[in-house]
């Protein structure tokens, strides 16, 4: 008896979906044991290729993507139905949504020209990457689903009492990011795997890579009696009943299991196997997509971004590359936001310009950079945040150069000892550097009633301040702190500087 290929595919899909969720769950301080928690992001050929185009490197774990590329060359676009968590979730929701008559499904699962859009999107994104602008993360399915889970779904589950976190994490604009995922899932109501067939740029790339796979779904033209039952559960919309469109086929194996005559098999060509159809794209549209992308790059680059001139609120995680390189590497996957123990890392809105949308920034009212924590750089799949040792971060190895994220500034109009003659210096207490970057002077001033008041008034020593933001986070002036960190003085920049003399 032949093995049930659909059952095998479902086992793999279940395994990879559970693995994806498990690695995401493991990615925090209390569970992390050196697991490859960014595995799915590293397996992603699109991340590797686009990042390779912007920076001419194949960074560390991204070499794993070669595995998927090579397997795809032989096996076809199997990733989409066997490995990709977004593809698998789309498949499950499609299955739940579509309860139509078989004849209706045969009609709906036919190849449609709208499927070409993903190739045009891929072209535009790769042309932009070749010109140095990395926006692949907006649409890359692995980055998209990781971001949606980290920023949207998991915090929502915590809200529902899941107990994933010790305290509820909050993310700026999390609901918007989650709604995009929700829209992708709802689209399955109207077309099976709408995202995967029509929009997914990784699907397009894998479609290109499966230009001539050795193993394919093959149809025996003598055994086939044109019943079209193979179309009923077809995931890719790749016309297995005719000349198969290999670049659209997800190798889901459903057609093989549906065929009443045993006319379909997955493997090498046999004497009576049908011909296949080549990739269907409109060359003119493809060219247009590339030209539009080329035109978009100078438009984007001439608009303000944090790479053009430093922005006070664009405070990057410790170990981040200089801003231009950072933007050329960051795929907005939010893996760093998942491991951050204090919830300080937040998806940026437009602070750093459109290019920096959803890249990680520190919002110190929500958290602060824990002095001895270096987790974000160790889960970053693309090296936008370099993996640091604790010693390198706090400056044990090189005492004169701890990693600085920015500098803290007092707001004398809000600071209790400065403006309200009230003792405080919580900022000094929590300052983690040794000696402390925040220091105080004892002063005696005359109060409104003529009585003397002794106070400790705090100051920042900019050469010692590392911009970790714990002072801002713990400042008792709750809405807008009386001490605030801005990005100036950050180690990674040569132009976002202030002080001439180092300590």
């Amino acid at each position: 008896m032949l093995p049930n290929l659909r059952a095998i595919r479902r086992l793999y899909a279940g395994f990879f979906l559970v693995l994806f969720l498990l690695l995401l769950w493991l990615a925090d301080f209390s569970h992390l044991q050196g697991y490859e928690v960014s595995l799915f992001l590293e397996l992603d050929p699109l991340t590797a290729l686009a990042g390779g185009l912007t920076s001419a490197t194949l960074y560390r774990g991204l070499a794993l993507s070669l595995l998927i590329i090579i397997l795809t060359l032989f096996l076809g676009r199997f990733f989409c139905s066997w490995v990709c968590p977004l593809g698998i979730i789309n498949q499950i929701t499609s299955h739940l949504f579509t309860r139509r008559r078989p004849a209706e499904e045969y009609r709906r699962n036919r190849y449609q020209p709208i499927f070409r859009i993903k190739y045009y999107l891929l072209t535009a994104l790769l042309v932009m990457a070749a010109l140095g602008v990395l926006q692949i993360g907006l649409l890359d399915p692995i980055a998209l689903i990781t971001r949606s889970f980290v920023v949207g779904i998991w915090p929502a589950l915590q809200q529902g009492g899941a107990g994933f976190y010790l305290s509820q994490p909050y993310f700026i604009g999390g609901v918007l990011i989650a709604l995009i995922l929700l829209a992708i899932l709802v689209a399955n109501r109207f077309m099976t795997r709408y995202w995967c067939r029509v929009l997914c740029p990784l699907g397009a790339l894998l479609g290109l890579l499966s230009w001539r796979p050795l193993l394919r779904i093959r149809r025996d033209v003598d055994k086939c009696n044109d019943c079209h039952k193979c179309l009923q559960f077809c995931q890719g919309g790749c016309d297995p009943d005719g000349a198969l469109r290999v670049s659209e086929c997800h190798v889901c194996m459903n057609c093989i299991e549906q065929c009443p005559d045993g006319a379909l098999h997955y493997g090498l060509a046999q004497p009576r196997s049908s011909i296949h159809q080549p990739l269907d794209v409109n060359r003119r549209r493809l060219l247009e997509s590339g030209v539009v992308a080329m035109a978009f790059v100078p438009l984007l680059r001439s608009s303000y971004s944090s790479a053009a001139s430093p922005h006070p609120a664009v405070i990057r995680p410790p170990g981040s590359l200089p801003e231009l390189d950072f933007l050329a590497r960051c795929i907005k996957c939010a893996a760093c936001m998942r491991v951050c123990p204090t919830n300080v890392l937040q998806p940026a809105l437009l602070e750093g310009g459109l290019e920096a949308l959803w890249t990680p920034i520190l919002v110190n009212r929500l958290g602060y950079c824990e002095h001895h924590c270096v987790l974000c750089g160790h889960v970053c799949p693309t090296g936008a945040i370099r993996p640091l040792t604790v010693a390198a971060k706090v400056g044990t190895t090189n005492p004169s150069e701890p990693i600085k994220l920015g500098t803290a500034f007092f707001d004398h109009g809000r600071c209790l000892p400065w403006a309200m003659h009230t003792p405080c210096i919580v900022c000094e207490e929590v300052c983690p550097t040794a000696p402390k970057a925040i220091w105080y002077q004892k002063t005696t001033i005359t109060g409104r009633d003529g009585q003397p008041i002794s106070l400790k008034q705090p100051y920042v020593e900019p050469a010692r301040c590392i911009g970790c933001g714990i002072c801002e986070n713990k400042c008792p002036v709750s809405d807008m702190a009386a001490i605030r960190v801005t990005s100036v003085g950050e180690s990674r920049s040569t132009k976002n500087v202030m002080i001439l003399r180092s300590p």
């Binding site: 301080f29 209390s30 305290s167 002095h371 040794a434 000696p435 400790k456 008792p476």
Partner: protein, 341 residues
């Protein structure tokens, strides 16, 4: 006349209601009246001059965890040495044994200082060996459960792991309780400054509480020892307490009277407190002090930080409040040296 030419009369949709009987009329009227009455009732019961209705929130009070005084035993013991577990055991023996404080079946809460993501050598947190030894003695004395908690200033998970206290506690048979955001109960502290504050629920769920502070420099209060350690029971915006730190410390120490206090002066953070970070600021003192009077214990620790009672106003305030005496030598006290020293 032809059928087709006849002008049609009436609607094409011509099904008609059957005539209502008296019973039907009464039933229909009854249903409608009942619905209307329900609307009225919702209005009656729901009417409020307040815009929002909240369930009343219970406000708890902390119980007194002290045991009865016993003049047979000293109230303050100083143990010097280099083997922490033995020093803890010796201190407890001098004080009358752990059985004096813990009854069989008690649930005991240990409150070390685990404020910071620092390692034991940096002396920003209580020595994990002290926590382990005390937990072990509690279990020996028959405690049903030993819990360890603190409301850390740095990330709680990191602080408990990197301080070594999580592992030490678990190995000694204690359970670490990290307070999550919904683990706080509103509690009346009955203080002159502190009224209702959120307190970690564990303090309301145990029979005995043992305070395990560490001696550290503190830039605002001068020192943090036993009394200041009660900051760690509070949630909420406790960073406001610094605005009147001495009154806050006294209010906290008055609200939470522990069963026993063991002060860790094995390593002392002399400067850059309370977070420290540099080993240059840490001195080895190899000393434990245990007792029942937190004011006396705090006063005892002052020379380690080169402070005097007059430089630490909360001590006099606590004396005035009747919490103890800063003149610890006036108490029945003992000192022991274990090993070579």
């Amino acid at each position: 006349m032809d059928e087709n030419d006849k002008k049609r009369v009436g609607s094409r949709i011509n099904k008609v209601e059957p005539a209502w009987s008296r019973r039907r009329l009464l039933v229909e009227a009854g249903i409608t009246t009942a619905t209307a009455a329900a609307v009225g009732a919702v209005g009656y019961w729901g009417y409020s001059s307040e815009a929002v209705r909240h369930a009343p929130q219970p406000i708890l009070t902390l119980k007194d965890f002290r045991v009865a005084a016993n003049t047979l035993y000293p109230s303050l013991v100083v143990v010097r040495g280099d083997a922490v577990a033995k020093m803890v055991a010796e201190a407890l023996t001098l004080l009358g044994g752990m059985q004096r404080f813990i009854q069989r079946g008690d649930r005991v809460l240990l409150k070390p200082n685990v404020g910071w993501d620092r390692q034991p050598e940096q002396a920003a947190n209580t020595n994990p060996e002290v926590v382990a030894a005390v937990a072990h003695l509690c279990r020996e004395a028959g405690a049903a459960q030993v819990w360890v908690t603190d409301c850390s200033i740095n990330d709680p998970q990191r602080s408990f792991v990197r301080s070594g206290i999580e592992l030490a506690a678990q190995q000694a048979g204690a359970t670490v309780k990290l307070p999550a955001s919904n683990d706080f109960y509103l509690t009346n502290m009955h203080g002159s400054l502190l009224k209702n504050w959120p307190v970690a629920r564990f303090f309301h769920q145990v029979d005995k509480v043992i305070n395990l502070p560490v001696v550290k420099h503190h830039s605002l209060s001068g020192c943090t020892v036993a009394m200041k350690n009660w900051y760690g029971v509070l949630g909420g915006q406790r960073n406001r307490l610094h605005q009147d730190i001495h009154t806050s410390i006294v209010d906290l120490a008055a609200a939470l009277r522990p069963t026993l206090t063991i002060v860790d002066a094995t390593r002392v953070l002399k400067r850059n407190g309370p977070s420290g970070g540099s080993l240059d600021d840490v001195a080895l003192e190899n000393t434990l002090v245990a007792g029942l009077d937190e004011v006396a214990l705090d006063a005892w620790a002052l020379p380690l930080l080169e402070l005097t009672v007059t430089q630490v106003p909360y001590l006099a305030m606590a004396e005035a409040r009747g919490l103890g005496t800063a003149n610890w030598r006036s108490l029945h006290w003992l000192e022991r040296q274990l090993g070579s020293g």
